[in-house]
Every structure is written in C-alpha cells, then in structure tokens.
Amino acid sequence: MFEIFEHTADQGLRVRAPSVPELFQDAARGLSSLLAPNLDQVRLLQERTISLDSNDREYLLLDWLQELLYAFETERLVFADFQVVLLDSSLRATCRGEQFDAERHGAGTEVKAITYHGLTIRRQCDGWLAELIVDI
C-alpha cells in the first residue's frame, strides 16, 4: 500500500507492507503511479529483470527506484507489476509493464530523482514502513 504525502517543492511517498519485499514492490508501484497516473491501464507486455546489491537496505530501496526511473527515461518503459526477492544484501526483481503511452496512462509528472532526504525504512508492529521524497 502506498500513499503520496506532502512536501513543499516535491512529493513524498509513504509505503506500508507486511514484508520488506512487498515494501519494495509497493514503493515501485508508487513511483510508477507518479509517472503514469492510470496505473491499472498499464498492460503487462514486457518483462525486465533487475539485480542490485547494497549493504544498506535504505540505499538498496533508493537504487531500486532509480533503476525503474532509468528504464522509464531511456526506454519509456513503465511497469505495473513487480516480483521482488531479497537475499541478504542483494535484490532480484522481475518487472512487467509496457511502453509509456500518455493517452492511455495519463500524463504524469516527470520525476527527476529519488532523494536521500528523509529516506527511511522502519519496522512497525504490523509490518514495514518506508518514506522517501522524490524530486519533481
């Protein structure tokens, strides 16, 4: 589950999930929804795998979202479905989606980057919480 929270110049993304892999999946959906507001219109026609490594889980989340942003900017690929597997410090993910089409997906906001400001992942009594701010 994700929600957008307010930040004066930019946009905050708050994600809650029962497990860390789901936290990563929902964060990715949150990012995609900024780029393509009609996320349910994204067909799952293309598939990509992404592998990443980082000793720091928060940095791993940031790197993961940056990868998705990069695929969007360079190949115009927007993803709506994610399967994330986390093992120690590594991430392996399968992402499914299609070429961005502003007509169907809605003209979203250009996201410049995922920032380090306020980047947190916390364990809560009922699962996990992540917060981050994207630069618009």
């Binding site: 946009q11 809605g106 979203g108 906001t109 250009e110 380090y116 400001h117 306020g118 630069d135 618009i136």
Partner: protein, 487 residues
C-alpha cells in the same frame, strides 16, 4: 522525518534580515541568515526550511553565513533558496545537494520588437505554435540528436559548440552567464547512463515547474537599465525556464552514490544524508566538479536550443525572421549551480566555491564578469514568478557582494505543496481561469497546471521587494504573463 513548522530561534538583524545563531545546533560552524520581511518570515516558519539553513552551516569550510533568500522553502538537504560559500583553503567542501539534481536549472529572457497590441490578435495561434514546436512533458524527446562524441563536445564547450550548426550567435554567448561554458568541465566524468538520459533531451522543456512564457513588460522601474536591456513598456518577451534534464539528474545521482561513504572517510559529520559532500581538493570532489560543469554546459545548450525553437515559432506566426523581430537574448542565468568566484572575506580576497541552490547570481555594476553592455548598470537578474501574476527583471546591486556573495532570489517560492495545490484545483479548469485573466495556457497535463497554479506560489512582488530593499538586486522591470506553455 520532521514535519510541521520551525520552532528554533530567528533573531531580527534588520528590517529584512533574520539570524539563526550558530549556537542553535552543535556542529554549526557559522550563523544562518535569512533575508525576508516580517510577513514572509511568518510564512517561512511554517516549514522545515530554516532547519535546513542551520544544517548547511555544518559544512566544512563554510564562510560568512549559511544564507537563504526570501523565496526560501523546504527542499531536500539544502533548502531551496540557499547560498553557501566554502573556502577550499580551509577544507571547504563541494556538495552535490547544494547544486541539486537539476544542475544549472536556470532562466533566460528573450526580447522582441513586437508590442502587445500587435501580438494580441495572434496570441492563441502563437501559444499553440510554441506548444507544437517545443517538446514538453513527461517522456518526450526532442528533435535534436547528438551522437556520443558530439554530446561530449557539447558538454565541454557549451553553446559555442552549436555555432557550427548556426544555432547560436556571438551576442547569445555574450549574454549568457559565464558565456555558457564552465571551463572545468570534464565530459569523461559523465557516466554512460547520464549520456543515455541526455541523448535526445537537449532542446526539451521537461515538466514540473519548467515553463515557457510569453510576457509583456508591464512597468519599468529603472529606465537606464531597461534601456540597456532593450526593454520598453508593452514590449513582448519570452521567458524560458529549464535545466540539464535527465543528464544533469543522473550526474547528481551518480555523485551522491560515489560520495556515500566519503564524509566518514574525511571525518565530516552531517545532519542529513542529502548534504553529503567532499573536500573541493579531493579526488571525489574534483570528479564531481568536472561532471557538474559538463552538465551545466549541457543545460546552457538546452536553453539555447529552446530559444532557437521559440524564435522559429515567432517567425512562423509573424512571417518575419527572428532577426527582423529583433529577438535578442537579454540574459541567461543559472540558479542551481556551484562556481568558483572571487569574494572578500574579512579584508582578504579569496577564491570561494559559491553554491546557489535556487538562488541567482546578482553581480553589481562594474564587475568584470558582467557583459560589457550591462557593466554600467549591473548584471540582469531574472526572477520568474507564477503564471498568473508576474515575473521580474532586476539588476545586481552594489551591496550584493558583501551581503549575499553576489546573490539574489530565484523565484517566488512555493507556498503550497503539489498535493495541496492539486487538491485546491479539484473541479476547476485552471486554463479557463487563466484565460479570464488574459493568459493563454497550454499544458500536457491538467495536473501540471493544477500544481503550478498561481495560488501555489508566494506573491513574487513581495519577494522581489525584499531583495530590492535588502540591496541584493534592484528592480528594473515587471513582466506580466500572457501566454504559458507547460509540460
């Protein structure tokens, strides 16, 4: 993360200056200083931006004070509207967050010999043509393509690289800050990923707060300066606001990644990870500076190519070449950048690195870096406001070097978050509201207009008044928008 207002100390120094004393937080090396009126400071207290001014004061080698302009608002790491000077001789650092993701985001102003009465009957057609010609919005590439080798040259040389294609004139270069070229550029320091993101984006506007506006000179406050800039009442101008696009964002991101462990390495303690930095005179610092300068040169090319497309659109609508329309570049300023500059600290001349994160250079009259045409009046300072009210042209004031390391504000500053602005716009047609105020607006998305509606910003007139009264920059002319193109 901390939310809500700032409850720390803000001591009044004079009518337009407020101090956060160095003692506020352990680790601050200098005071914080915010330029604002009594009215604006109340608004500034409402978010965490003063806390960010205090955090910047932690940076090693910082000189004078951690400064903020009256358009200050909550950013990530640095506040937006911040100025920070560091001295490499005293372990001074360079911080990619102090430049921002959009390296050399900036503004340029193009004038013309058209008056509004001649343009008004063609305004809709003109804005439509600009909207067609100039790529804007998410996921839109441009019509200019550069191969890797060309892109490297473009980043090394800035807009003068475009000369062989006939896309820039000597006068354009003269009227661009630093002539559009930071000589420290090291295109080889720019990653393959950044090149990939930038390959088809040079000459595109982007989205967010970037825009292209047709504006009319509404009032002139300084005839001598306005005359030097070729501005007269009712004259039609175009303001362009964009930066280094995906290339610059990636350069910043690469640098933040490279620097993740660097503060530990050099024993630097920071209150926010986004303030990550490296000594100017370190391999990591030099690497970033070379890449940053290359991205800055790319941004100047981007705004140059945007201007070329604007000139083409005017020529198509008015049936005359841009030369006949005398669409000369008034000036181009960067407002997200770090540059080495000579400043006096105490009674010594020093070469400092000035970070301007949402702040504009405002050099005074007779400064050698001000182009010959403006040297007697001061550097033109371009302040975009919002799309319903006004934008401003100012000139650097004699006192600016001493008061703000030769800097002024960069805009009106946001008042509402994007979410709040979009909520406020629900059920409304911002384009129709603007039309009723005489502004023709075209945007790729409803949300783009909603987030950028006039009510989302502070009143730029109030912000400019502070800059004027605080002697950072002086008023030259007020411009009112009549046409808007947004991503």
């Amino acid at each position: 993360m901390p939310q809500g207002g700032f409850s720390g100390p803000l001591e009044r120094e004079d009518d337009y200056c407020w101090r956060i004393p160095r003692g506020y937080k352990r680790g601050m090396r200098v005071d914080g200083r915010i330029f604002a009126s009594e009215g604006l400071i109340e608004c500034i207290r409402n978010d965490q931006s003063p806390e960010q001014v205090a955090n910047v004061a932690f940076l090693p080698g910082i000189q004078g004070a951690s400064l903020a302009m009256p358009d200050i608002h909550w950013g990530y790491g640095f506040c937006i509207g911040g100025v920070c000077a560091t001295d490499p001789e005293q372990g001074g650092v360079i911080s990619p967050g102090g430049v921002g993701y959009d390296i050399n985001c900036g503004v340029r102003l193009v004038r013309s010999n058209l008056f509004f009465s001649e343009v008004k009957p063609h305004l809709s057609a003109l804005v439509d043509e600009l909207f067609r010609q100039v790529p804007a919005g998410v996921g839109r590439g441009g019509k200019y393509r550069f191969h890797r080798r060309e892109l490297r040259r473009l980043m090394g040389e800035g807009p003068q690289f475009l000369r062989e294609r006939g896309l820039v004139t000597e006068a354009d270069l003269d009227h661009t800050e630093a002539r559009g070229c930071l000589s420290a550029a090291e295109p080889d320091n720019v990653s393959e990923r950044a090149l990939e993101r930038g390959a088809d984006q040079c000459g595109t506007l982007g989205s967010g707060n970037h825009f292209l506006e047709v504006q009319v000179v509404d009032a002139v406050f300084d005839e001598e300066a306005a005359c030097a800039m070729g501005l007269e009442p009712e004259m039609v101008c175009v303001m362009i606001h964009s930066g280094s696009r995906g290339l610059g964002y990636q350069v910043c991101d690469d640098a933040l990644r490279l620097l993740r462990r660097v503060p530990e390495k050099y024993g630097i303690e920071l209150p926010d990870r986004q303030l990550v930095c490296a000594p100017v005179e370190s391999p990591e610092g030099r690497h970033y500076l070379g890449a940053m300068a290359a991205a800055a040169n790319y941004a100047w090319c981007n705004r140059q190519l945007l201007m070329v497309q604007v000139r083409e659109a005017f020529a198509a609508i008015f049936g005359r070449s841009w030369q006949e329309l005398q669409m000369t570049l008034v000036y181009d300023v960067a407002h997200n950048i770090a540059k080495p500059e000579q400043h006096t600290v105490g009674d010594r001349q020093r070469r400092l690195w000035i970070h301007r994160k949402g702040a504009t250079r405002a050099f005074p009259p007779h400064h050698p870096d001000v182009p010959a045409r403006y040297r007697h009046v001061g550097q033109p300072v371009l302040i975009p406001g919002d799309m319903g009210r006004a934008s401003w042209v100012l000139k650097g004031a004699p006192e600016s070097m001493e008061r703000s390391f030769g800097s002024a504000c960069h805009g009106a500053g946001r008042l509402l978050s994007r979410t709040a602005a979009a909520r406020l716009a629900e059920g409304r047609r911002i384009d129709q509201e603007l039309a009723s105020r005489g502004v023709v607006a075209r945007a790729r998305s409803w949300r783009g207009l909603a987030e950028e509606q006039p009510a989302a910003y502070k009143d730029v007139d109030l912000v400019v008044e502070v800059v004027h009264q605080a002697n950072l920059a002086r008023k030259v002319a007020r411009l009112r928008p009549v046409g808007v193109v947004k991503g």
